[in-house]
């Protein structure tokens, strides 16, 4: 077995990052693109998934010999940490949703969510005993690392395969949800909340539901990411990261999976991760700063010149079901008879 080097290492890394970003973008697209719910705390859900997946794989805190401290710590077999992480994402969506999804004007709501994200970072940094503070949790063992050789190139491709399976599952799920009656209700809420309420939709329930589903998807993306890079710290989930996903959706096109895919390739994968693999052209601070300046400029430019994104959402026209047509026809006849 050969060790992953050169182009294969780059390809494996980029593909896993792409998969993670795609999962996250599909989740955010369901929340914002389909349901119109603003979640500026999206990265918190990815972070929660990553921390939980790490905690359920890394073993107890004491086993590291005082190198890092955290609450809990188990070494569950492979698929379980990802599963627990996904469930956690759904569970923490409820309290965060209760604070942030109050009936507030949408920009006020967005500000509240941003504040939630800032608070989460500060709490983790201020209490080093909780999740090892700003140093973060490291040495997360790779999934199935005891059975296979985790530094082999075959393992790398296996990980790409695992990521792809997760992408497929999430893709099928969000596509089914978007087409379902629930998806139609979400779009109705997005387009005109007052009308949605008037026709009897429970918008609070709809909002919380998309928040929970999107939270679970975000957490899964975090779990896949943390087991690949084997470490996770507050630097990885500062609030601008959420903004990178929003940029991806606006660039790609809101409300459709193709847009989410194109956005995931262009913004978080090529612009944020791909650039770090290139030979450095300037000192690291300047190139890091420049990336975010470029993201900021790109989003302003897209909102001005092409707000619908590269792939605009297709308008769904729903044909009236047959019985409606029949009812209309009979109504017509009854009128003629009368």
């Amino acid at each position: 077995m050969s060790v992953a080097t050169g182009w294969e290492f780059v390809a494996i890394t980029m593909l896993v990052y792409l998969g993670v970003n795609l999962i996250a973008c599909l989740g955010l697209n369901l929340q914002y693109g389909t349901a119109g719910v603003l979640n500026f705390a999206f990265i918190v859900f990815q972070a929660a998934g990553a921390y939980v997946a790490a905690l359920f794989a890394v073993g107890p805190s004491s086993s590291s010999g005082g190198f890092q401290t955290y609450v809990g710590g188990w070494d569950f077999p492979f698929p379980l940490p990802w599963l627990v992480a996904t469930i956690t994402g759904a569970v923490i969506a409820v309290p965060i949703g209760l604070v942030g999804l109050r009936r507030l004007r949408s920009d006020y709501q967005a500000m509240v969510m941003l504040v939630v994200s800032l608070i989460a970072t500060t709490v983790v940094v201020s209490f080093p005993g909780f999740l090892n503070g700003s140093a973060g949790i490291a040495l997360v063992p790779p999934p199935l690392g005891t059975l296979l050789n985790p530094i082999s190139v075959q393992y790398g491709w296996l990980y790409v395969g695992l990521t792809a399976v997760c992408c497929m599952v999430v893709f099928v799920l969000v596509s089914a949800l978007a087409r379902s009656p629930l998806g139609r209700n979400w779009r109705a809420m997005r387009e005109n909340e007052a009308v949605a309420i008037a026709v009897g939709l429970d918008v609070n329930r709809l909002r919380m539901l998309v928040f929970v589903v999107g939270g679970a998807i975000a957490a899964l993306s975090g779990a896949v990411l943390v087991d690949f890079i084997s470490a996770w710290s507050p630097d990885a989930w500062l609030y601008p990261e959420t903004f990178a996903f929003f940029t991806a959706l606006i660039v790609g096109g809101l409300g459709n999976s193709m847009g989410a895919l194109i956005g995931a390739v262009l913004v978080p994968t090529l612009l944020l991760e791909g650039v770090t693999l290139l030979p450095t052209f300037a000192n690291p601070t300047v190139s890091l700063g420049l990336q975010w300046v470029v993201i900021g400029v790109v989003i302003i430019a897209f909102l001005w010149f092409r707000p619908q994104g590269i792939v605009p959402e297709r308008k769904t026209v729903i044909a009236p079901p047959d019985n409606t047509a029949a009812a209309l026809a009979t109504g017509h006849k009854a009128q003629e008879a009368g």
């Binding site: 920009d107 967005a110 890091l288």
Partner: protein, 296 residues
């Protein structure tokens, strides 16, 4: 006794910073209707500009002027360059908040690129301490409390007794009606950005003095306590922001001092903010929030 003086003193110093920043934020929102997430970043950029002139040998008065001018010009440029053109196209509130976040990222990272990943501290702060009831406070921080009181009175006087203040309040309440009654709303909004931006810039200088050492992201990290003060008092209400700042300053210092854990300071601000959002998201003074339909 000494602990009480220390708590009240530190609380007032924090409150002074939050009040200046909060009144600027809330004035900006009430007149322009933009929730400006970039506010903390403008504070940071102004603090950095003041640091550059301070390093070059200017005293803190000149640095303060530079900070105020930086905040004012950046805010005006944001309105003219970004918010106003988008508002003309009838962009929604979500677009505006995403734009302000984009500007925030650009500003933070330009400061990072120019200044580097370092911490900056002002010079000539004075080493002596002012003793109040047996407790020593740095003179620059005592000065900040005085300056904040003067600034708050100036904002109050402007809003209450000047024609501009009246025009601002008219524009805030009903821009169409104000326009129809002969108020030049475009000019009033530009002036609101300038004045709130100047307050924001001064708050940046105060922040730099109080925290001692700041970096490119310190400004945006102050967004949470500022928003906490503003939301507690009632967003869009100047007196509400002052009240909120005073409450958060005193309560957070008291909690941190009594428990002996300084991390508690921020957490108390968070707890107040979250409790307020759950129980009364429109804040203590709810006029603007109700009028804008912020809370439905």
């Amino acid at each position: 006794m000494n602990q009480l003086v220390l708590i009240v003193g530190s609380g007032l110093i924090t409150a002074a910073l939050l009040a200046v920043a909060g009144v600027g934020f809330t004035l900006q929102f009430s007149v322009t209707n933009v929730l400006n997430i970039a506010y903390g970043s403008v504070m940071g950029a102004a603090a950095f500009a003041a640091y550059e002139v301070n390093k070059a040998g200017a005293n803190l008065w000149v640095s303060g002027l530079v900070a105020a001018a930086t905040g004012a010009m950046l805010s005006l440029a944001m309105n003219r360059g970004v918010f106003k053109p988008f508002e003309r196209r009838r962009a929604g509130v979500f677009t505006l908040i995403i734009l302000s976040l984009a500007i925030s990222l650009i500003l933070d990272n330009v400061v990072l690129m120019v200044g580097g990943p370092f911490f900056f501290s002002y010079k000539q702060l004075g080493q002596a301490s002012v003793r109040i009831a047996g407790v020593g406070f740095p003179p620059s921080q005592v000065f900040i409390v005085g300056a904040a009181v003067v600034l708050m009175f100036a904002v109050h006087a402007m809003q209450k007794w000047t024609k501009l203040g009246k025009a601002m309040r008219a524009t805030a309440t009903n821009p169409e009606l104000a326009k129809a009654s002969g108020v030049r709303t475009g000019l009033v909004i530009d002036l609101a950005w300038l004045i709130s931006g100047a307050l924001c810039g001064l708050a940046g200088l105060f922040m730099g003095i109080i925290v001692g050492a700041f970096n490119a992201s310190t400004g945006s990290s102050f967004l949470v306590p500022i928003i906490a003060a503003v939301v507690l008092g009632g967003i869009g209400e100047s007196y509400g922001a002052m009240l909120g700042a005073l409450t958060i300053g005193l309560v957070s210092e008291a909690a941190a001092s009594i428990a002996g854990v300084s991390a508690l300071k921020q957490l108390v601000a968070f707890a107040i903010l979250i409790g307020m959002l759950l129980l009364r998201p429109q804040g203590i003074m709810s006029g603007t929030a109700a009028q804008r339909g912020l809370v439905r």
